[in-house]
């Protein structure tokens, strides 16, 4: 859909001299390569943190919520802080994949896959807390409106906690479907490239039999649009509903009508910061600098700055309304928030969320990868403290001074939070090793219009495709590197025959290559021209040879590999 002309003034979204095949290779790379040492180190740390968290959760469930630092006045603290924080982080994924899709922001294509993965993984973390924070989590299913035969009574639809149950589960399921739909062509790509049968089997299962027919693509586009339409209101609704947990209560500092928009902005804010954190690492580790470019980072920084400013406005509005309300409890709640015993958390929140993103007004800073990385982490720290401030400082001094007290976390509180961080990174690291981390099918769709190579070709007035059957090397600098590979047919033929072995008509007889599925009479003729006559020769073909063959024939690229000619040929050869 997207290969139409794009203004030259727009910066290319895919850098480097990338053709379609390069995209496949680059993106399948992390999946096909072995994991390096750093991955194992980081993965071990994440896994250890995860297991520590599991230990803390088991301790909590077996002993009681008393293992946390909560008390009669502060009934929620780190549990719900973490819950809201993780839900908020999840927002960026849907915003990028759905809202930006509807707004036709093509730059999202490089980051949407990982952003959505992050959404799903963080919603999983978030979903953990409402369950484990219950005094009797084994009865957690009672919050579901299930028929009485299950031993449960009907639920209370007045309760915002119940709305949460629906909001979060809807969000998780829509996000998951949306994510997986986008993954289908990419999984199919990996499936087609997979050599080992086991991997091939797995990827063919998860790609749901994607064949790449035009009908597939048409349905794919339709489903994507429908899901984007469904997911867009969710971006607004989920955090709105989460904010209702507080906004519908009677506690000063919670009972605030500005919460829904303020929470949504905060969620997008923290979500983009988390995407930023993850992608800055990933582009480096997975060598994806050509796809996730400084431009992407800059655009995300702008969103962070804008949403940060919205959040800042909300903070100020809250203070104003507290004063304007004339309610002494309300006024004290906000005075206490800013200057009471937890003043330091308010200060952290204000400086991290409102002040720090403001430096993004300078282009130099918002295009600096190091600064962006630091700010992205600072923002997430600040957003964690925002939730802590809202929850704990509102509760710890509410109406009756006789109940005022303080909260301090125990090692279990901290352990569970660290555990969710570990769980999140464990999932993300596994994802980075097994999933196509960039939506390559989509990237390919904009390659011609927004890829640097094609833009330059277009600028230079060159044709975008050159299928050269005879050996004139392209003279442009753009294809300089390629020239070596795009050698004359003769050189390729000889190198191909080097590995496959030449056919000696005096000693051998030619096989009927048409028996191999995928080789028709035309192809057989071509192969014969090259000098390939036997199953044995075909059976020796590997990836390199397939590529060479593709280059020589120029038709049906990838067909040979997809149909596994070598495997078929070997079987046929054995039969003989």
């Amino acid at each position: 859909m997207a290969s139409h002309y794009e203004a030259p003034i727009r910066k290319p979204l895919v850098l480097g001299d990338k053709g379609y095949h390069d995209v496949s290779v680059d993106i399948a790379g992390p999946v096909e390569r072995r994991a390096n040492k750093q991955w194992w180190i980081v993965f071990s740390i994440a896994l250890a943190a995860f297991l520590w968290g599991v230990g803390c959760i088991v301790y909590t469930i077996s002993t009681g919520i008393g293992t946390w630092g909560l008390n009669k006045t502060v009934g929620w603290a780190w549990d719900i802080t973490n819950f809201v924080w993780w839900v908020g982080i999840g927002h960026a994924g849907t915003l990028i994949s759905a809202v930006l899709l509807l707004f036709r922001q093509k730059w999202r294509m490089a980051i949407n896959r990982s952003a959505e993965a992050m959404t799903i993984f963080s919603v999983i973390q978030a979903g953990l807390f409402p369950v484990i924070h219950m005094g009797r989590p084994w009865l957690g299913y009672w919050v579901l409106p299930i028929p009485n035969q299950f031993g449960s009574l009907w639920v209370n639809f007045n309760s915002p906690l119940l709305w949460d149950v629906f909001a979060i589960s809807t969000y998780l399921s829509v996000s998951l479907v949306f994510w997986w739909t986008g993954l289908l062509p990419d999984f199919a790509m990996i499936r087609d490239r997979a050599v080992k049968p086991f991997q091939k089997k797995i990827y063919s299962l998860v790609s749901f039999g994607w064949t790449g027919r035009a009908k597939d693509w048409q349905r794919f586009e339709e489903v994507s649009l429908v899901l984007a339409g469904l997911a867009t209101p969710l971006v607004l609704s989920v955090h709105t509903i989460v904010s209702f947990d507080f906004a519908t209560s009677v506690i000063p500092g919670w009972h605030t009508t500005i919460f829904p928009p303020y929470f949504v902005a905060g969620a997008v804010f923290s979500g983009f910061a988390m995407v930023q954190t993850l992608l800055i690492i990933m582009r480096k580790v997975c060598n994806l600098e050509d796809y996730i470019t400084v431009q992407h980072i800059e655009l995300m920084n702008i969103i962070i700055m804008v949403t940060g400013s919205i959040v800042g406005c909300a903070y100020i509005t809250e203070l104003f309304i507290a004063w304007y309300s004339g309610v002494e409890y309300e006024q004290y709640a906000f005075l206490n928030r800013a200057t009471g015993p937890y003043w330091w958390s308010y200060l952290l929140m204000m400086s991290c969320n409102v002040v720090s993103p403001q430096i993004m007004w300078f282009k130099k800073i918002r295009t600096s990868i190091v600064v962006s990385f630091i700010i992205s982490i600072v923002v997430n720290v600040g957003m964690w403290f925002e939730r802590f401030v809202i929850i704990v400082t509102s509760l710890h001094r509410d109406y009756l001074p006789s109940s005022w007290t303080m909260f301090s976390p125990t090692f279990v509180d901290i352990g569970i939070f660290i555990g969710t961080l570990g769980f999140f990174f464990t999932l993300f690291l596994l994802y980075a090793r097994t999933f196509p981390v960039i939506a390559q099918a989509e990237v390919k769709s904009i390659l011609k219009s927004s890829g640097e190579r094609f833009k330059k070709l277009r600028d230079a007035g060159q044709p975008l495709y050159k299928i050269s059957k005879n050996a004139t090397a392209a003279s442009t600098a753009v294809v300089e590197e390629k020239t070596e590979a795009v050698e004359t047919g003769n050189e390729q033929v000889s190198s191909l025959l080097d590995t496959l072995g030449a056919f000696d008509a005096t000693k051998e007889t030619a096989d009927d290559l048409k028996k191999v599925k995928g080789i028709g009479p035309q192809m057989e003729q071509t192969l014969n021209q090259i000098g390939i006559f036997t199953f044995a020769q075909v059976g020796r073909m590997t990836e390199k040879e397939y590529d060479l063959l593709d280059e020589i024939t120029g038709s049906f690229p990838g067909r040979a590999q997809r149909d596994d000619w070598a495997g078929q040929a070997n079987r046929l050869n054995n039969k003989n």
Binding site: T63, G64, I65, G66, G69, L70, N71, K72, T73, G75, W76, P130, H133, M134, G135, R136, P137, L139, G140, W142, V143, L153, W154, V155, N156, N158, S159, P160, L161, L162, V165, D245, T248, S249, V250, I251, W323, V327, E328, Y329, Q331, Y332, L335, N336, T339, L395, H396, R397, D398, Y399, L400, P401, S402, S403, W404, T405, M406, F407, S408
Partner: protein
């Protein structure tokens, strides 16, 4: 499958011809079985009665028995009554009237029993006695089920039979009879006619018997003063409701002063009626419960209290004494004199100074004013301890002239300041027997420990004040192999009667007259009002008569003899001075003299003033704390820490006493409570606090002490960490009597206003929801009168007992996780009065002034006003908790109660967060059957106190006040079964039942005739946090202070 492998059993098998191997291979039994030995003897065999059948029977039986024994699973005994006892119907409670008289607490009570188990103490409303059951009496039922009780008699700590103990006692008593050595009885105050008779008979039987009465916390000075004046060793009785002006010099009469029980009368006079209420002046050093309730409280060191008392006396009779008091005290005394002059007989002066002069002067003043509130004609017998006799006894013991020492109800090794002397003495006594329910410091040094009954297992009687008799009856059979003191005395005297028969005999012969014993036992009390008239020869009455006749007391020879000693007393009071810090020792509302130190309910009972539980501590004033570098600070989780101090009195020092900086503490004074710091016979958790009896020298509650800082910080468990009200005048509304009498209620009971369509309207009229029709059926409301509530906390323990509220221990309370369903908030004013707090807050302008202003307001004043507010679930008709519960575990009833379905609760705690009153309590852990919480719910004995009508909650669920729905439902069902209409007053909750002050009134507002329906219409009525719109079913009455400084 056959195998060709051959396994050899020993090396010997390798030698094919080994004889042993061969022999073993051939013979199944390597040795000859001596069959003939038992079968060969044919005669013997035929002679035995055991035949084959018997053998099989035996085999069969033993097999069955062995397998049965092996199969035995956990057995839960649920034994039905074979013969059902009369009156015990499962599920129906029985009530018995009885009397607690443990030497410190004296009260007429009703005991609620279920299936034969006493489970709760309630007030005996038939008793005409002033006070009701205080917190300790309410909790005493749990001491019955104390798992650390002694379960049988002991000799040197080893279990013996009663017969052994009896023999030892009888032999010794017989040997001592008419010998040179004394038999000494060292006992608590009984105030019991039967015990008095028994002891006199015992004395007659053995001769040479010395009975010494000992009160751990002495009222000796007051007893001496009364004895000197009226010739009888007793204490005057006071009717505080008859007093319009109450002046107290260090008398904590709302707590345990002179035996306590004055609070109901006091409260009666405190509720404004016809524009009048009593005015209460308090001069004291420690901030006491009484001082906290006073209209005018003057912090004064004890020496200055004496001076003030002297001044008051002299001003009243027109003389003058020297000495200087500070301006505030002088002004207060002048005010008092002016007010007393208005109506002399309506004034009452009391003092708690352990000083004979002070006590004498107080008596003299009341007499001079002919105070109608003081009643010397029917004096109280609840304290009879005699220090001189005790000191003489110890001297005698040390000299070896005591042959046998029998103790009951006392623990001198713990509570004597000179315990070493006692120890030296008891080692020289030939035979020492201690009656005690628990192993303690004294039983540890006695030859024999006689395991004693709890009062709920005992017979007895008491005469709390002249003419007021009451009976103690057992409500359960002895749980263990125990006997009460009186039974043993009877036994040792050779009297065959049981103590029950003895008590009955005493009563029928000398108490009851024509009255019916069964009726007296049923009522628990018997008033012999007619009897004392005949006793006009009584010296007390004689003097009272003269007093009555000559109220002015200005002339007459009768006083001539009187005035001189009083004048001397006044002079010596005026001359009293002290150097150094003045330490006032007091007893806490929760712990008293420390008898019930192993009672977890009382340990976890927060002190009404400091709100600290599981501890005692020295209280110091803020300025002294600054000088001495003492601090109280809060750690990250809110828990309070305090410095340690070393206190020295006359060379005796008490180390590492935790310090609490107490607002209202007079400068230069210290306060320390007795009754803590027990070590022997207690579970580890209960060994809290320091033993202040060591400093109780000369049995005086006033000591000169030196104090210094010690290293380290103490961890307190306090249920309330914030001390002030922060100017939030709508939480505790208050006004002065003058304003109350003259202004419209809208001025002093202001309704919050909200803007509706740009019009200011009362907040209560604006509503999001349509209300239900609540006019049909019952609709429960609870009224709490802040004027009548003294903050005594009896309701807190009553609620604990009724509702199976768990005890969570010091560490959990420190984490702000106390489980009390009903708490009594205590607030201090930050300025001199709450009124000034409110106006200070209203005048804040700008954020910065607010910030610094509110920070100042967190700090209570040096001598603050104090307010108490009982808070339980407010049962809001628009309950914020109900809407937020995802599983509808908390919902509203038609009758106004906010239900909590524990079984449905999944424990999200959202309801607690959304509760503006913070009354919901979460089960953070499993509090029963959990070794981490080794209190009464962790053992079979302690669980016997559990109310079967109320759940024991599991962990992870929310709980809270149910407005005792089990009690209201029972009332409804009883009336329904009996086919009658419910009378007003039948609906009760545990707290309203326990409140003898009338502060808590519960009832059905749909019953137009009910008291609560009348109270809800009162001008003083307001709801807590009305502006939130929760529409609670609990309401409060504006506190009216009778101050002249408006």
């Amino acid at each position: 499958m056959a195998s060709n492998k051959k396994y050899w059993k020993s090396e010997a098998e390798l030698h094919p011809n080994d004889s042993i191997v061969e022999a073993l291979r051939q013979n199944e039994f390597p040795e000859e079985i001596p069959v003939d030995d038992f079968l060969g003897d044919k005669e013997g065999l035929s002679a035995t009665a055991t035949n084959r059948r018997d053998f099989l029977k035996y085999i069969g039986f033993s097999t069955a028995a062995a397998s049965l024994a092996a199969c035995e699973g956990p057995v839960r005994k649920s034994i039905p009554y074979v013969v059902k006892p009369e009156n015990i119907i499962p599920g129906i409670a029985n009530y018995y009237a009885t009397t607690i008289a443990n030497g410190f607490d004296f009260a007429n009570v009703l005991v609620k029993t279920r299936e034969g188990r006493p489970i709760k103490i309630e007030n005996n409303t038939d008793a005409k006695l002033g006070g009701g059951a205080n917190a300790r009496v309410q909790a005493s039922v749990l001491s019955l089920y104390d798992s650390t009780r002694i379960q049988g008699p002991l000799a040197s700590g080893e279990p013996v039979y009663w017969s052994d103990l009896d023999k030892a006692a009888k032999d010794k008593l017989a040997a001592l009879k008419n010998s040179g050595k004394q038999i000494a009885l060292l006992t608590q105050t009984y105030a019991s006619p039967s015990t008095d008779r028994l002891i006199s008979e015992f004395t007659a039987a053995f001769g040479n018997v010395n009975h010494v009465t000992y009160d751990a916390i002495s009222e000796d000075a007051a007893l001496n003063a009364f004895e000197a004046r009226y010739g009888k060793r007793a204490l005057p009785n006071y009717n505080f409701d008859k007093a319009d002006v109450i002046v107290s010099f260090g008398a904590d009469f709302l707590a345990d002063w002179q035996g306590g029980g004055f609070d109901s009368g006091y409260s009666k006079g405190r509720v404004p009626k016809n524009g009048k209420m009593s005015r209460h002046y308090q001069f004291e050093a420690n901030m006491s419960l009484t001082g906290a309730n006073a209209d005018k409280r003057v912090p004064l060191a004890p020496s200055n209290q004496k001076l003030a008392l002297a001044k008051l006396y002299s001003k009243l009779n027109g003389t003058s004494v020297g000495g200087d008091l500070d301006e505030a005290a002088e002004r207060a005394i002048d005010n008092i004199v002016t007010e007393i002059a208005k109506n002399k007989s309506a004034a009452l002066v009391v003092t708690g100074l352990e000083d004979e002069n002070a006590q004498a002067v107080a008596l003299a003043i009341n007499e001079m004013l002919s105070s109608r509130a003081m009643d010397v004609s029917s004096p109280r017998y609840v304290r009879q301890g005699n220090i001189n006799a005790l000191n003489q006894l110890i001297t005698d013991m040390k000299s070896g002239s005591i042959g046998a020492l029998i103790m009951d109800g006392v623990n001198p090794m713990y509570s004597l300041p000179n315990a070493e002397d006692f120890l030296e003495g008891i080692e020289k006594v030939d035979l020492s027997i201690t009656f005690s329910t628990n192993w303690n410091e004294t039983t540890a040094v006695s030859n024999y420990t006689a395991a004693s009954n709890h009062y709920l297992e005992s017979w007895g009687d008491a005469q709390l004040f002249e003419g007021h008799f009451s009976l103690t009856q057992p409500t359960i059979k002895e749980l263990f192999d125990t006997r009460q003191f009186q039974t043993c005395l009877l036994n040792w005297m050779g009297n065959e009667k049981s103590y029950y028969e003895y008590v009955k005999e005493t009563w029928t012969t000398s108490v009851l007259g024509d009255a019916n014993w069964d009726k007296a036992l049923h009522d628990g009390v018997f008033s012999a009002a007619d009897m004392i008239v005949s006793g006009t020869s009584d010296p007390v009455d004689a003097i009272q008569n003269t007093v009555d006749k000559e109220p002015a007391l200005t002339n007459g020879e009768a006083e001539e003899k009187d005035i001189l000693p009083i004048a001397n007393a006044v002079q010596s009071l005026a001359a009293s001075s002290m150097e150094g810090m003045e330490l006032t020792l007091y007893s806490k509302v929760g712990m008293g003299d420390g008898q019930q130190a192993s009672n977890p309910w009382l340990q976890e009972f927060p002190d009404p003033i400091s709100r600290v539980c599981w501890d005692n501590y020295v209280t110091v004033s803020k300025s002294d704390a600054q000088m001495l570098d003492f601090v109280n600070e809060h750690v990250a989780n809110g828990g309070m820490d305090g410095s340690y101090a070393n206190i020295t009195v006359n060379g005796v020092s008490l180390d590492n006493v935790p310090v609490v900086i107490q607002p209202g503490q007079a400068e230069g004074t210290l306060g320390l409570s007795l009754g803590y710091g027990k070590e022997v016979g207690l579970k580890e958790e209960m060994k809290v606090g320091v033993n202040a009896f060591k400093l109780y020298q000369g049995f005086s509650n006033i000591q000169t002490a030196t104090i210094e800082k010690a290293t380290g910080m103490h961890e307190f468990a306090s249920v309330q960490l914030h001390k002030t009200l922060m100017g939030r005048g709508d939480i505790i509304k208050e006004t002065t009597l003058e304003v109350f009498n003259t202004k419209d209620h809208s001025e002093w009971n202001h309704q919050p206003q909200v803007s509706l369509n740009h019009q200011e309207v009362p907040a209560t009229t604006v509503d999001l929801w349509d209300s239900f029709d609540r006019s049909i059926g019952h609709h429960f409301n609870m009224s709490i009168d802040l004027n009548a509530c003294t903050g005594c906390g009896a309701c807190v323990i009553a609620c604990h007992a009724e509702n199976n509220v768990p005890v969570v221990g010091k560490a959990e309370v420190r984490m702000s996780r106390d489980m009390h369903w009903l708490r009594i908030d205590r607030y201090y004013s930050s300025e001199d009065t709450f009124e000034e707090d409110n106006s200070k807050k209203d005048e804040f302008s700008g954020a910065f002034e607010s910030k610094s202003g509110f920070e100042e307001m967190e700090d209570p004043a040096a001598n603050p006003q104090v307010a108490f507010q009982p808070v339980m679930c407010q049962h809001c008709n628009h309950a914020p908790c109900e809407t937020v519960c995802p599983v509808a575990a908390t919902s509203h009833s038609r009758q106004g109660q906010n239900h909590m379905a524990y079984n449905r609760c999944v424990g999200t705690r959202y309801c607690a967060n959304n509760c503006p009153y913070k009354v919901r309590r979460f089960n953070w852990f499993l509090y029963n059957n959990n070794d981490e919480f080794d209190y009464n719910m962790n053992n079979d004995l302690g669980k016997m106190v559990i109310n079967p009508d109320v759940n024991v909650r599991s962990r992870g669920v929310m709980e809270k006040c149910s407005m005792c729905i089990q009690m209201t439902q029972k009332t409804i069902l009883d009336a329904k079964r009996e086919g009658r209409i419910i009378k007003d007053g039948e609906f009760q909750t545990a707290c309203s039942n326990a409140c003898s002050n009338g502060a808590i009134v519960f009832g059905d507002v749909n019953d137009a005739e009910s008291e609560v329906a009348e109270l809800v219409e009162s001008d003083r009525m307001y709801h807590l946090l009305e502006s939130v719109g929760t529409k609670p079913n609990v309401f409060y009455h504006v506190k009216v202070r009778n101050t002249n400084e408006a």
